[in-house]
């Protein structure tokens, strides 16, 4: 268990199912926290954030749309065609600098990717 009653829990547990991260591991996490949260004070000048590719996360949101339906249908169709090759689909922690391994759902066409970008912009991610 925790050593010396430290204020913060130790990383992981004996079972290790709960992933711990006192350090947001990726830029995505940090942006998520500090860009539009916290006190807004009347300051002299605001620094704008540049050079950060928001587009690093696979942030496709499930929205009711024909593209989404087609994508899911395709994914289901592929389930029977091939075994998943056992690779992990990854998660939001990754900065997205690494290309995501394509699973069935992710093997979408350009149309879906375009939609993704539109959705990202719309939700302001």
């Amino acid at each position: 268990m925790s050593s010396d009653g430290a204020r913060f829990a130790t990383r992981g547990t004996a079972a290790g199912y709960l992933q711990r991260g006192p350090n947001p591991s990726g830029l995505a996490d940090v942006l998520d926290l500090i860009l539009d949260k916290g006190l807004v004070i009347d300051a002299y000048v605001r620094v704008s954030v540049i050079g950060i590719e928001i587009l690093t996360i696979d942030a496709r949101i499930v929205i009711a749309s024909v593209d989404t339906y087609l994508r899911f249908a395709e994914a289901v169709n592929r389930l029977d065609l091939a075994e998943t090759n056992g690779k992990d689909l990854g998660d939001l922690e990754e900065d997205g600098a690494k290309k995501k391994v394509k699973g069935a759902i992710e093997g979408a066409g350009d149309k879906a990717k375009e939609k993704t970008q539109q959705v990202k912009e719309r939700v302001g991610n």
Partner: protein
């Protein structure tokens, strides 16, 4: 002589000395007190203000370091700069002292924890949904056999509905187990596919262990279909979110 100050957050003026990492624009942060409140600041060198990924990370790391040394810090949004210390005192710390002190007291005994609930294997989830639902299985066969556009849409629509239903249930489970243990919480509505849920919890410090243990037990319970990832303790980013109007501006 201009001496712009970048502001990270607000703390009580009184308190243990802080050991802070390098901040924005590689400047060393310090504590600037004005009466009973203080701002964590660093010099912002002249020139065009820019925000790069390293600065964004530095901002967050400074705040986390502050939280390790103090019972709370009110995080200020990224990118706030005052012309100089006098301006900081005049425009924020002096006129808003009472309100800032109130907030500091309010969050003194609480920290934020962020929980992400993820689907580590979306394909596996789909497989489960199809196998467990005769209608989906039927539509799947139909789509494969006919290959028609209509059949694809039908299958897709039903799959999305089943997926959303599953996600709704998974989120509800997490909510049910953890929200009774916290002072306050927020939940994100629009989620990427692989995220079953995303929560921010405001946890009282005395209940922190209990919360973490409960989250660990939950993580184990659901580990075959969900992965839980807990970030924090963090400053109360998701709970201290409002604007302080400039003093005198009405």
């Amino acid at each position: 002589m201009p001496a712009p100050l970048y502001v990270y957050g607000i703390v009580e003026a009184e308190g243990p000395t802080l050991d802070l990492p390098e901040g924005v624009a590689r400047a060393t942060p310090s504590v600037h007190a004005c009466g009973r409140v203080a701002a964590i600041v660093s010099r912002f060198a002249g020139g065009e203000p820019t925000g790069r990924p390293t600065d964004v990370k530095a901002h967050e790391q400074v705040l986390r370091a502050v939280l390790e040394g103090r019972n709370t810090v009110l995080p200020v949004r990224f990118g706030s700069i005052y012309a100089d210390a006098a301006a900081l005192d005049r425009e924020l710390l002096a006129p808003r002292a009472t309100e800032l002190e109130r907030l500091l007291a309010e969050y003194a005994d609480a920290v934020e924890l962020e929980l992400r609930v993820l689907y580590p294997n979306l394909d596996g989830l789909l497989r489960q949904l199809v196998d467990g639902d005769p209608t989906l299985a039927r539509l799947s066969r139909k789509a494969r056999q006919s290959g028609s556009y209509h059949a694809q849409i039908e299958l897709g629509e039903a799959t999305v509905a089943a997926f959303e239903q599953r996600r709704f249930a998974d989120r509800a489970l997490v909510r049910e187990r953890l929200t009774p243990l916290v002072r306050d919480w927020r939940e994100r509505d629009e989620l990427p596919e692989r995220v079953a849920g995303q929560f921010a919890f405001l946890v009282e410090r005395p209940r922190l262990s209990e919360f973490e243990e409960t989250a660990e037990r939950l993580a184990e319970e659901v580990h075959e279909r969900l992965r839980l990832r807990l970030l924090g303790p963090l400053p109360p980013y998701n709970f201290v979110s409002f604007e302080l109007e400039p003093a005198g501006a009405r």
